[in-house]
């Protein structure tokens, strides 16, 4: 892909798929059509300047194959016929309803309770964020073939069962929003620690997740966890600029130049978190935001309140006892009480097979062993982390540490 087309792809993919999907009710069809439009764009924009409205250009190009396929296919419902009429028009009609955002509608369809919970995030990452099946398979620790099968199945179900592309009504929202929060969080995570590609951070995924979190906070201003998620994303995203060197190398939190942190985002995130906590219904996103706020409040890593962070992780582990939370708690405890105390927590997770396939678990263990001077065991743990195929930036970091301890 040429770089211009690539930039437009990252920015416009989700929006283009969302519009065509809303009009046709068929996600697979929408994705194919937008994919084809991008293929055409790559050829065209290599020789011509970018159109003034790339998004409009893409929609115009994408609707033709969608239209052709609907015409060709004998199987045509009333809804698809209506879609053909609309697609025949020059511009898509704006969506109607409370929140006129096609991507928000798409995410509610992708996170519908009638879909398998494990597949909801995957289908959102594919259709809204344009991640490849390989990237998604990797972040789910699944084979590409299995992931491809799940994606196809979910998209077919959305079409065949007529799962609507719509933001639910007020009385349905509280029951539906939790699943959407989870997906927005994972989209952000995917951007913040990209599993594929040479970059440490994929800016467009972080931006999209923050944008969606803002929309959700507008939609549900009295739901503390919705505000908690927005606060968490803002406070974490504030560190984006300090997270990688110019050469694309990962910089750990403790080594980051905190003057590069985005103060405006930290202030906004802190205010949103305060609003959430005043509603007095704590939850996992608010706790994680509070942890991020602790880091943001420390002028340098030496003055971080690790005891407070360890206490917040302990509270988080009670409502969300996942390997990731336990591993983070271990790191915080190690900082507050020393590496041996942290290592004891990690050792409890030895029998968890999912945990053992997670490269960061081994990386974390390696670091604690290194600090304890148990060099041989640390080397072994670094090698195990590397064997699990970490993303390039982390691979380089781990390989560096491994080389260091052997000197």
């Amino acid at each position: 892909m040429t770089s211009q087309a690539e930039i437009v792809f990252r920015r416009e993919w989700g929006r283009a798929v969302a519009v065509v999907a809303r009009l046709t009710g068929d996600l697979g069809l929408a994705e194919d059509a937008v994919q084809d439009a991008f293929a055409a764009a790559v050829g065209r924009w290599a020789i011509e300047p970018l159109p003034s409205d790339p998004s409009g250009w893409l929609f115009t190009v994408a609707k033709h194959p969608a239209l052709d396929r609907l015409r060709r296919e004998a199987r045509r419902s009333a809804k698809e016929q209506a879609a053909m009429l609309i697609l025949g028009q020059r511009d898509p009609p704006p969506p109607t309803g409370k929140i006129a955002d096609d991507r928000l509608r798409l995410i509610f369809a992708c996170c519908h309770p009638a879909l398998d919970p494990g597949t909801r995030v995957a289908v959102t990452l594919r259709t809204l964020c344009g991640l490849s099946t390989a990237e998604i398979a990797r972040s789910f620790l699944l084979s590409e073939a299995t992931m491809a099968q799940r994606l196809v199945r979910a998209k077919r179900k959305i079409r065949d069962a007529a799962i609507p592309f719509r933001v639910p009504a007020d009385d349905e929202l509280p029951g539906r929003v939790g699943g959407v929060l989870r997906v927005v969080y994972l989209v952000f995570t995917e951007g913040h620690q990209a599993t594929e590609g040479p970059r440490v951070v994929r800016d467009e995924l972080c931006d999209e997740a923050v944008r969606l979190a803002r929309l959700l906070a507008d939609l549900c201003p009295e739901e503390p966890e919705v505000l908690g998620l927005l606060a968490l994303l803002l406070l974490t995203d504030a560190r984006r600029g300090a997270r990688a060197t110019a050469g694309g190398r990962l910089v750990l939190l403790e080594d980051q130049d905190r003057r590069q942190w985005d103060r405006a985002k930290i202030d906004e995130g802190t205010q949103v978190l305060d609003r959430a906590m005043r509603l007095r219904r704590p939850g996992p996103y608010q706790l994680q935001a509070a942890i991020a706020a602790c880091h943001a409040a420390a002028e340098h890593s030496g003055v971080t309140d690790w005891a407070e962070i360890a206490a917040l992780y302990a509270a988080l582990a009670r409502c969300e006892p996942s390997p990731v939370v336990h591993a983070n708690r271990a790191v915080a405890v190690a900082m507050a009480e020393g590496p041996a105390a942290g290592l004891a927590i990690l050792d409890e997770l030895r029998d968890d097979s999912q945990c053992q396939r997670w490269h960061l678990m081994h990386a974390c263990r390696a670091d604690l062993l290194r600090r304890l001077g148990r060099t041989a065991e640390a080397g072994e743990a670094y090698r195990m982390a590397l064997a699990l195929d970490p993303p390039p930036a982390e691979r380089e970091f781990l390989a560096g540490r491994l080389a260091e301890i052997h000197h």
């Binding site: 199987r75 045509r76 419902s77 065949d160 007529a162 609507p164 719509r166």
Partner: protein, 120 residues
């Protein structure tokens, strides 16, 4: 979009027995749910089924009809009735189906009907 909604009885669930006030309440809930769906133009068809013991299963093998007593598969869960609904989308179908008492006393499977070319 049309949906076939199968009313499934689950063995562990307690269902009101005939003659009790709860049973009468259930009947009247069925009636009001069905009437509301008909009034809103959503209801295509519906009805309760006789028990599985009344079922006959037919297969044609080598051109010969093969008739057996009973349902095609012995399941612990029994289909006790059905609704065919015509709804805008799955959310509307699920909202409607939630008003059917069988959802409280068992489960309801909601299956979209395939749209055939001649119905387009």
């Amino acid at each position: 979009m049309r949906y076939l909604c199968l009313l499934v009885g689950e063995p562990d669930m307690e269902v009101p027995v005939p003659g009790t006030p709860e049973f009468m309440q259930m009947l009247s809930d069925y009636e009001s749910a069905t009437r509301a769906m008909a009034a809103d133009g959503v209801l295509v068809d519906s009805g309760p089924l006789q028990p599985p013991s009344s079922a006959t299963t037919l297969r044609v093998r080598g051109g010969e009809p093969l008739v057996t007593d009973g349902p095609f598969a012995e399941l612990k869960e029994q289909i006790g009735g059905y609704y065919v609904l015509d709804c805008a989308d799955l959310d509307e179908a699920l909202r409607r189906v939630a008003t059917i008492p069988a959802a409280r006393y068992g489960a309801i499977e909601v299956r979209p009907l395939m749209v055939m070319p001649d119905q387009a």
